[in-house]
């Protein structure tokens, strides 16, 4: 008698794998040396790959869980209360952008556009959090730099997503997880 695995269990395990992947990518960015990205506050945003993949394969709620757990664990493992506030507000805006674009423009946009928009939303969320935490608006002076970085790194993660989706689809379908 073959082992029959419930599809909910498969999806839960997949969500756990995506969360682990997001956390590992966050940690990789944390380890990047000072010279890797010599611009203040700029990070490649690789963890968004795992959140987008979770959204595509598992749906909005598991993707929100992946993003939320990633933010909390990152703050606990290698962050601080203030960096948690920055990261959480960025992640919320980024997720809302992902949900909106995937819900209403799914057939008119590629992962490159989604990724750039999510990165820009993440930057805006972080800057808003900084403005609230430190109670002044001068932090918005960094927004142009962060938006340009969002366009560049968003394109990179979007292209990576385009490359990763076909093999990931095959691997997950082999494991019994179908595209949402």
């Amino acid at each position: 008698m073959g082992l029959r695995v419930d599809s909910r269990l498969r999806r839960m395990c997949s969500a756990a794998v995506f969360t682990l992947l997001a956390l590992a990518l966050s940690y990789l960015e944390f380890l990047l040396p000072l010279t890797a990205v010599p611009l203040p506050g700029v990070k490649p945003g690789l963890a968004n790959l795992a959140v987008m993949a979770a959204f595509v394969y598992l749906g909005p709620l598991p993707a929100a869980a992946v993003s939320g757990v990633r933010v909390v664990l990152s703050a606990l493992l290698f962050g601080s209360p203030v960096s948690f506030a920055f990261s959480a507000s960025g992640a919320v805006l980024s997720y809302l952008m992902l949900w909106l674009l995937y819900r209403f423009a799914r057939d008119k946009i590629s992962f490159i556009g989604i990724s750039v928009a999510c990165a820009a939303a993440h930057s805006l969320g972080q800057i808003c959090a900084a403005g609230i935490v430190f109670s002044h608006l001068s932090v918005f002076r960094y927004l142009p730099l962060l938006l340009v970085a969002s366009a560049v790194f968003g394109c990179v993660t979007g292209m990576l997503m385009n490359l990763l989706i076909p093999p990931l689809t095959r691997a997950l379908e082999k494991g019994g997880v179908r595209l949402k």
Binding site: S80, V82, A105, R106, F111, G113, A130, V133, L147
Partner: protein, 127 residues
């Protein structure tokens, strides 16, 4: 799958983001007030130091378990070294105009410059 090919909406989004960045960048060229005072604020302890921008000073400030070295010289201020993980505060370089600030998120510290007219309304700290 539809999401794998570059679409018109992708290009529109990229152009919009870059246009927003350019517009905000140009706003940064508006005349700025000359900086007068350096405020070092901690999210945890409130204002921890205040120096005239014309002063020559080097000092250390600690927050969230990380220590930052701050240097004021030549009418500008910068964070010269930091124990924080990302070193974003060090990367921000020297600032000299009123309204500019250097933020270290892990340490919860903001180094900002105020001018004669900006001091009164902006010196609060949330929390």
């Amino acid at each position: 799958m539809n999401q794998l090919r570059l679409r018109v909406l992708d290009v529109i989004i990229i152009v919009l983001v870059l246009c927003a960045a350019a517009a905000l960048f140009l706003c940064g060229f508006l005349p700025r007030e000359r900086g007068e005072t350096v405020l070092v604020e901690s999210k945890y302890d409130g204002t921890v130091a205040e120096y005239p921008l014309a002063a020559e000073a080097e000092f250390k400030v600690t927050g969230g378990g990380y220590t930052l070295s701050v240097s004021i010289n030549g009418g500008a201020v910068c964070v010269t070294s930091s124990g924080c993980p990302g070193h974003d505060c060090v990367k921000q370089g020297r600032i000299s105009s009123a309204g500019e600030c250097i933020i270290c998120a892990p340490a919860g510290i903001a180094v900002r410059i105020i001018g004669q007219n900006t001091g009164a309304g902006t010196d609060g700290i949330a929390g």
